[in-house]
Symmetry: C2
Subunit: 299 residues, 2 copies
DNA sequence: GGCATACATCAAGAATGTCTATTATTGACC
DNA sequence: GGTCAATAATAGACATTCTTGATGTATGCC
């Protein structure tokens, strides 16, 4: 295997037409350059230099190799620059998977902020519920996953991922605007006899658990992971539901009433692959996300 | 400066998606591969790999660099092949400078022989008298110089050149076919009172010296380094001359008579740059030359 | 929870690289 | 023709780096 140092030495000798001058240029000693040339000749199996009086000059083979070496060294340089630019946030891409309500609220703000700061980095966005997002993260299809967990359950499964909490948002009970309920609207038990509209599977599981804790089993009439549809169903008087703050920030149906549930919350986090440190673009994006989250302006 | 070995390791790891598998493929130990990866990351200043469960995978920067590395390694391979082919007589060029009578006789035969054996090597031919040919050799404009020397004088000046004798050819006195001379035709003294036609400068110097040795100073009426012209002048009765065997092999005017001068001869040699060993194409060409010289068929 | 797998880390010996000092050649100048 | 200056090659010492076996750590599977 050839050695880039030796190729660089050869190029320098070819340019300077002198071992001593090449050595000075490369900040080597003259014998080092001689030695490298000798090794290079042994490596390629052909004489590359000839003594010329008290100087030196290249053989035809030497000239050929020097020309190629120049190209190769240029390519190495370019590759190094490319990687450095990538690592230095001046190039690259970032693939984000986020759950719907975040994708509609936090993510656009974060992406706008991030793109302004690092315009050379391409961003790909994917809508995915947390389990799917985490799988994508593990498969290398995604660089950053925005995930959530209800209540105090763990956000991620922690296998090869680093979970960074970024926000805890309130939960609301969503009811038809004109409907009256006996009892406190901040307690789930008030809605024990209503029909329920559930969200995604994990949301439904959490809803059921929360209702059980409040002393009843919810009568789930509809399921949909579309928070816009949930509100439309509620507005149509087909049932009641719970929604997290972000879903309501993203979309607020005029004919529903919301009341905060002080005993419940949803925790939002970003997951990245592997133990820290994450790649620079990922770190920068997380920073942008946190900055975008400082003003969610809960309804 | 990046290291080709490390780039090769990176490529292997990228392909195998495993340090251990890459190590086996490269006939390294697993720790060596780990070490190389670590050094490479330090060199480029960016993380290139991530642990993935009990395996490993590349970061975006790693994938970028691996892709570039593959190209670079291919180019290195190509450069090596190119040089090897050149050294191995399957490519390259050979620039020959030869004096006129050789260029008209020996060189075509040698070139034909050489080209048949090594068709991929380009040959450039230049007509040059020995001093010019040697200068070209020293300046790197010529790879092989065919030179000659009269009598026993040295063929080359031996500065940075290797002189390989290849042939000693007879000298002839050239006279008008119908002219009678008192005395032996194999002695220069017989032509002491004739007018003389001299060749190139060195030939003229040698002619004068030879004549002086024979007891007279030649009356030089014409000078030309064209041996065809020399014979034409002699045939026209304008004088007499001496010519070496090769000139007469190349061209024989019907109206001149030639007689061998047993006391004189011309030595032909090839000069190559530097001390041995010469590049392979040069060595092969010299071999072809010697083979072409075995049958000059002196007149 | 134990086992097998895979990568990282450590330490020691081997290989390689670099330097200083020296030698060998060559060209130039007197 | 002899001496001097310049240039590259060689030799030996020292430092660095590479390679490897042994060990440690984390992960996935049963």
């Amino acid at each position: 295997m050839l050695d880039l140092v030796r190729l660089r030495v050869l190029v320098a000798v070819a340019r300077e037409r002198s071992v001593t001058a090449a050595a000075e240029k490369l900040h080597y000693s003259q014998p080092s350059v001689s030695h490298h040339l000798a090794r290079l000749e042994a490596d390629v199996g052909a004489p590359l230099t000839q003594r010329a009086g008290r100087g030196i000059r290249l053989t035809e083979a030497g000239r050929i190799l020097a020309a190629r070496a120049e190209e190769i060294l240029g390519q190495v340089e370019a590759a190094q620059t490319e990687v450095a630019e990538h690592a230095g946030l001046r190039a690259g891409r970032l693939r984000l998977a986020a759950f719907p309500s975040a994708l509609a609220t936090l993510v656009p703000r974060a992406v706008a902020r991030f793109s302004a700061a690092h315009p050379a980095i391409d961003i790909a966005l994917n809508e995915a519920e947390p389990p799917v997002a985490l799988t994508g993260l593990r498969n290398g299809e995604v660089d950053v996953a925005m995930i959530f967990a209800h209540g105090d359950s763990p956000a991620g499964d922690d296998r090869n991922t680093t979970i960074t909490p970024v926000l805890t948002e309130p939960m609301y009970v969503v009811t038809p605007a004109n409907r009256q309920w006996p009892g406190e609207r901040t307690k789930l038990a008030t809605f024990a006899h209503a029909r329920w509209i559930a969200g995604c599977e994990r949301c439904r599981l959490h809803l059921v658990a929360a209702c059980e804790a409040a002393g009843f089993t919810p009568d789930i009439a509809f399921e949909t992971d579309d928070y816009v549809a949930v509100q439309a169903l509620v507005a149509a008087g087909l049932g009641v539901s719970t929604l997290p703050g972000l879903a309501l920030v993203a979309n607020r149906h005029p004919d529903v009433r919301i009341d905060r549930l002080p005993d419940d919350h949803r925790r939002i986090a970003v997951a990245t692959y592997g133990r820290s440190p994450a790649p620079l673009p990922v770190q920068a994006f997380i920073t942008a996300l946190r900055e975008a989250m400082v003003t969610p302006a809960w309804p």
